[in-house]
Structure formats: structure tokens, C-alpha cells
């Protein structure tokens, strides 16, 4: 069981007897995305960070093209990590696509998750009849092209340095330069899974109390999408942040912490 913790480069900090707060990064980078946010919870909570299969310091063997061909595979990973940590009453904080991964995990094991926090979520990125996701199918193909041209800079020599280094701290200096770099094949597949998924039908079934954090001017998940998510879920509330962009965890960590903390402490909303 401990294997899965190594495979996903799981790091546990904070109070061992505290309520577990699990931070999940989205498509693009790795657990470093929470670097400015997670430490704020260490005094009070048991803080769990991990790398999604195929990302950051996760063991290349953790990625299975068949299982990770849908977000359900990623949700299984989340549940397995929680089980291995014997974590119950978990607060799951997911950024971007990991918001939906959290929703699927909560549907799979509702008793294990006490609260969900969705940072910049979107249940579907591509426009549909009566729904504005913000992108067309052509846009998503362009993204995949963009990934291809940017991974020309990827060389196979980098792979062993980036991947399979569960002992990251000593290498942190060297690795910050490459924390957003992933095996191009895997990045492409993760992008495809992320940006072609449709989880709108899952949202009404999630009974877990949920906080939706929405930034102004988010180029990936516009405000209307954040509202859609909060309205589609039976126990969700929306908090609009002043921060702009898609990554308030990086661009406005204090505001992000201030919105999350009261909600996971006692369900209060600040916004």
C-alpha cells in the first residue's frame, strides 16, 4: 500500500492529528502549484500533497494509458492515496481539472470526503448547445499543436532527471526550472482527457459540501462556468475572487487561503 505514496510523490506535513487537507494540482505542472497556499494550513491540518500520474515527481510507472484515458482513473488514484494514508473526513482541494477529479472521487467514496474545494473548475471546456465552455473543438486541437511545438525543447535526457525522483528536496533548485515539463506523450494525453471531458451530469449527484472559487477574467474557466458549477451542485457555494487568471493559488495566494480556510474549518464563506 505504501507503494502508491511513493509512486505519486506524496508528501504529508502539518499536524498528524489534524483533519486531512489534500491539495491536487491540475493539468500543466505539479504539486509545487500549491507552494504558496499549502503551508498556511500546516498549523491546523494534516496537509497532503501529491503529483498526478505522469506529472512532476510521480513515478513514470504510475501512469497507465488505459486507466488514465478518463478522469475516473485519476479519481481512483486520489481514493487509493487516501486509503493508503488511512485519511477520513478529507477536505479535497482541487485546482482546475482536479476539481472534477475530486467530484468523481467524492462520488466513488462519499463517506471519505467531508468537503470539496474547487479552484477554477470547469465541467466541460468545449461549447455545447445551451452551454458556453469557452472553447471550440478546433481551439483544443490548437492546444495540442501548441504542446507539440513546445515539447520540441524536451529531450529524452531530461526525463530521468525530472521523473522518478521521489527525493525531490535536494534537487529542488535544479528542478524548479523544469517543474512544468512532462513527458510529451503523457502531457498530450492528459490535455486530451482534460479538455474533452464532460462532467456536467456528475455535478448534481455530489452530496459533499463544496466551495467553488472563481477568478475574474479566467481565460480557461470563465465566470459563467464557475456559476454553472455552483448552481449544478446541490450543496455548493460560489466565492468570486478579485484575482485574475486561472491560477489564484499562484497569483493571489493570500486571498485564496482566506477563502478556503473558514470553509474547511466550519463551512463559513468569506468572499
Amino acid at each position: 500500500m505504501d507503494d502508491i505514496l511513493a509512486r505519486h510523490n506524496v508528501r504529508v506535513t502539518g499536524r498528524p492529528d489534524g483533519r486531512p487537507v489534500m491539495f491536487a494540482h491540475g493539468f500543466g505542472c505539479d504539486q509545487n502549484m500549491w507552494r504558496f497556499v499549502a503551508p498556511a494550513f500546516e498549523d491546523e491540518f494534516r496537509v497532503v500533497l501529491f503529483d498526478q500520474a505522469g506529472a512532476g515527481g510521480a513515478d513514470p510507472a504510475a501512469y497507465d494509458p488505459a486507466r488514465h484515458a478518463s478522469l475516473h482513473g485519476y479519481a481512483e488514484d486520489v481514493v487509493s492515496i487516501c486509503r493508503a494514508l488511512e485519511a477520513r473526513d478529507v477536505v479535497f482541494v482541487g485546482h482546475s481539472v482536479s476539481s472534477m477529479i475530486g467530484a468523481l472521487a467524492a462520488l466513488a467514496e462519499p463517506d471519505r470526503f467531508a468537503r470539496l474545494v474547487m479552484v477554477s473548475p470547469s465541467p466541460r471546456y468545449i461549447d455545447d448547445e445551451g452551454y458556453v465552455g469557452g472553447f471550440s473543438a478546433t481551439d483544443i486541437r490548437e492546444l495540442l499543436d501548441s504542446l507539440d511545438s513546445n515539447y520540441l525543447g524536451w529531450s529524452s535526457a531530461m526525463a530521468p532527471m525530472i521523473m522518478g525522483n521521489p527525493e525531490r528536496p535536494e534537487l529542488a533548485g535544479e528542478l524548479t526550472d523544469s517543474f512544468c515539463r512532462t513527458d510529451p506523450q503523457i502531457a498530450r494525453r492528459f490535455a486530451e482527457v482534460t479538455f474533452t471531458s464532460d462532467n456536467r451530469a456528475d455535478l448534481p449527484r455530489v452530496q459533499t459540501p463544496t466551495l467553488v472559487l472563481q477568478c475574474a477574467q479566467d481565460a480557461i474557466a470563465p465566470v459563467s462556468v464557475g456559476r454553472y458549477v455552483a448552481e449544478a451542485m446541490p450543496h455548493a457555494s460560489l466565492v468570486l475572487l478579485d484575482a485574475t487568471g486561472h491560477c489564484p493559488n499562484l497569483s493571489a495566494p493570500e486571498e485564496t487561503v482566506a477563502a478556503i480556510a473558514p470553509f474547511i474549518r466550519d463551512g463559513r464563506l468569506v468572499g
Binding site: G26, S146, S149, S251
Partner: protein, 406 residues
């Protein structure tokens, strides 16, 4: 003006170059933006590259809003986090949508500057026109994809070709236990030169051929196919293995090319509970005979390589295989199997043959020993065929004894 004066004037002019002009007319586009991307300053080169009037950019557009939709996602998921985390971003490829709607492929370097209190202050972006480079990179990418496809087709072809040179499984021969094992060299991407064949002439009359065509790959495979089918055709007409090999020699020489081979040919005839084996070797390692309860001994006479000289020196040897006897044919991939500087060699092979003489599939056992010795990876093709006359069941012996007095 003398050369010295000209040089002085040139350097003086350089020093006088207006910093404003250095910025405005730099050979790359410059943008300065707020930490969340709003353009606050730009140079004339960027305006020229993109066709946006300066007043449409400054205070109005974010850097991300100038990109394609796919680029905006990459910007949010990779570029912005990298910039925030490490302060610089190098060689990121984007496409900028120009004022007229056309696209400009660019390479971006960017640096984030912090205030004294550590909060982000300004982002400086250098924009390089990468139109031709991107076209070239796309060609590289397409060539890479084509190469990968062609590689997988070649591998499929090699596997298919190989499967036509080796019987999928040894035939069931009444009164004879036949086992055969084959392992191509390395990862099996290339067609090897080893082959074997086991076929019937008539009831109780079979031929085993095993050989090694020099070289590898498609050229060798063509010769291997020719050798295998020629042996089949000739064996129907010619009784003596030596005669078959002589005719095969003529066929190979007539065909031209410089491929030769080694072949061992064994003709097996059933004779009650025993078999009679007539064999000839054209430059091939001799078959190993293991009579029941005895040691291993090579049988026959090694002739000359097939397909080199017009006169082939080969001779037939006749051997009786009694119940319990084993006859093993193999290619040199067995004895030349290597671990560091050490060969598997004949002594190990003889031991391996004895170890597996009573196994259900002796050929597989011998191949396993050679692979174990080489720690799993075969440097050369390995082919082994073993034929065994089934021992008489103990009950039959008893019956014979009981019956003999009468």
C-alpha cells in the same frame, strides 16, 4: 578618411546610439506587462510584427489575449505558473494573432521582476519572429511521426517474414517426439538467418532441415526462403541428403549474390520401433546423438559451406535411432552464446542435452539454458530441433520377457 579615422567614427556613432532607439528598433519585439499580463509598454518592432497600433495594446490588451485559444491555455497552465515560480521563461513557442487575423509564430523569453518586498512588479517579454523556424520544426515533427510509423511497419514486416521461415509449431510425427525452439537475436526487430523445417515425404518417412544463412535482414530472408523451399522440392526427388545439398549448392551459385549457408539435413525412416537416420552436413555443426544411457557424441561428417564453391564436399552417414535415443540439431548461436568473454561452448551444450534428454520438450530446455547463460539476451539467432524415439513402455518389456520362453 583613413581607415583608423573611419573606425573611430564608427565606434563613436555606436556609443552615441540613442537608448530609446535601441529599445524601439531592437531586432526583437518587446513587451512590458503588469504581473497579470496587461501590456504597459511596447516597442516599434512589436507593433510592426503584429500590426496592432500602440494605443490598442497599452492598457487595453493582456499578453494572453494576443494568443490563439490553444496558446492561451498553454499560457495559463504552463507559462504563467513557470514565470511565477522561477521568475523566467525561455523559448516558449506561441502563435500571436495579428491585427489582420493572420498568425505569427513566435518564440518568447520572459522575465519577472519583483519589488523590494518580494511582490511581482513587472514582466518583460522578448518576442522573436519564428516563422521559418516553426515551419522547419513542423517538418521535423512530421518526419519524426513518419519515421515512427515506418519503424512499426518494418517491425511488423520482420515478424511476418520471420514467421514464414520457421514452422509455427513442429508437426506431430507418429512414433517420434519432435521439439523445436527458436529465438531471434536481440529484440527480434531484424529477421535472422537461422531456419529449420520438418516435413513428411511419405508415411514413416520424414526430413529435418536446420541451417544458418549468413547475414541478417531482408536480403538474408530472401535466401533463407529460397533455401528452405529448394530443400523441400529437392527432397521429393533425391533420396540422399548429400545429393540434395549438392543440388542446393548449384541453385545458390546460379542465383548469384554472395549469400552462403550452412545446412544439416537428416532423412528419417521408421523401422518398427526404431528409426533410421541418414544425414549430411554442409559446413554445419554436427547433430548430437544421445543413445539411451550413453554419453553425447556428434555424428556424421562436416562438409563444406553451401553456396561458395562449385564442388560441394559432403557425405552421407547412416545412424540407427533406438527407442529412447535422442538426436539434437542446433545452430552456432547455441555454442557461441556469450557471457562476457566466455562462450556457452560444446561442453555446456553436451551437459544441457543430457539434462533435458528425458524432458517433454528437450529443445526448449536447451534454448532456456543458453538464454540463462547469456542472461536472457541472445546476441545471435538460436535454433534447436530435437527428435527422440519414444522409449518402450516398461510393460512392453515385461510382456516381451514373459512371452519369450514360449
Amino acid at each position: 578618411m583613413n581607415p583608423q579615422a573611419a573606425s573611430d567614427a564608427f565606434y563613436a556613432a555606436l556609443l552615441d546610439d540613442d537608448p530609446e532607439q535601441l529599445y524601439e528598433r531592437a531586432p526583437c519585439g518587446y513587451l512590458s506587462t503588469t504581473p497579470d499580463g496587461m501590456v504597459v509598454k511596447t516597442n516599434a518592432t512589436f507593433v510592426d510584427l503584429t500590426g496592432y497600433p500602440r494605443e490598442d495594446l497599452v492598457g487595453r490588451r493582456t499578453f494572453a489575449s494576443l494568443l490563439t485559444a490553444g496558446g492561451r491555455i498553454y499560457h495559463e497552465t504552463h507559462y504563467a505558473p513557470m514565470l511565477r515560480m522561477q521568475g523566467t521563461v525561455r523559448e516558449v513557442a506561441f502563435e500571436i494573432v495579428r491585427a489582420d487575423g493572420t498568425r505569427l509564430p513566435v518564440l518568447i523569453n520572459a522575465a519577472l521582476e519583483w519589488d523590494a518586498d518580494g511582490s511581482p512588479r513587472v514582466v518583460r517579454v522578448a518576442v522573436f519572429d519564428a516563422t521559418h523556424r516553426r515551419e522547419y520544426e513542423r517538418e521535423l515533427l512530421r518526419a519524426k511521426q513518419r519515421a515512427e510509423q515506418s519503424e512499426s511497419r518494418a517491425q511488423a514486416l520482420a515478424r511476418t517474414l520471420q514467421s514464414t521461415l520457421i514452422p509455427p509449431s513442429p508437426p506431430l510425427v507418429p512414433g517420434l517426439d519432435v521439439s523445436a525452439a527458436y529465438r531471434p537475436a536481440g529484440d527480434g526487430r531484424e529477421v535472422g538467418g537461422d531456419f529449420y523445417d520438418i516435413f513428411q515425404i511419405s508415411a514413416g518417412h520424414w526430413v529435418v532441415a536446420l541451417g544458418d544463412v549468413c547475414g541478417k535482414g531482408v536480403d538474408a530472408a530472401v535466401v533463407t526462403a529460397l533455401v528452405r523451399h529448394t530443400i523441400r522440392a529437392l527432397s521429393v526427388q533425391q533420396e540422399q541428403p548429400s545429393a540434395v545439398l549438392r543440388d542446393l549448392n548449384d541453385v545458390l551459385l546460379a542465383q548469384g549474390g554472395d549469400r552462403f549457408c550452412t545446412v544439416v539435413l537428416v532423412r528419417l525412416r521408421r523401422d518398427g520401433d526404431a528409426w533410421s537416420a541418414t544425414m549430411a552436413s554442409g559446413g554445419h555443426p554436427l547433430p548430437l546423438h544421445v543413445p539411451a544411457g550413453c554419453t553425447v557424441r556428434p555424428v556424421g561428417a562436416t562438409g563444406t559451406l553451401v553456396g561458395v564453391l562449385s564442388q560441394l564436399r559432403v557425405q552421407d552417414s547412416v545412424l540407427r535411432l533406438d527407442p529412447g535415443d535422442l538426436l539434437v540439431m542446433y545452430t552456432d548461436g547455441v555454442t557461441e552464446g556469450r557471457r562476457a568473454a566466455e562462450f556457452f561452448g560444446e561442453e555446456r551444450l553436451h551437459r544441457s542435452v543430457v539434462d533435458h534428454r528425458d524432458a517433454r520438450l528437450p529443445a526448449d530446455g536447451i534454448l532456456g539454458d543458453v538464454l540463462d547463460f547469456q542472461q536472457g539476451s541472445a546476441r545471435d539467432d538460436i535454433a534447436v530441433v530435437a527428435v527422440r524415439v519414444p522409449p518402450l513402455p516398461a510393460t512392453v518389456h515385461q510382456q516381451v520377457r514373459e512371452e519369450s520362453p514360449t
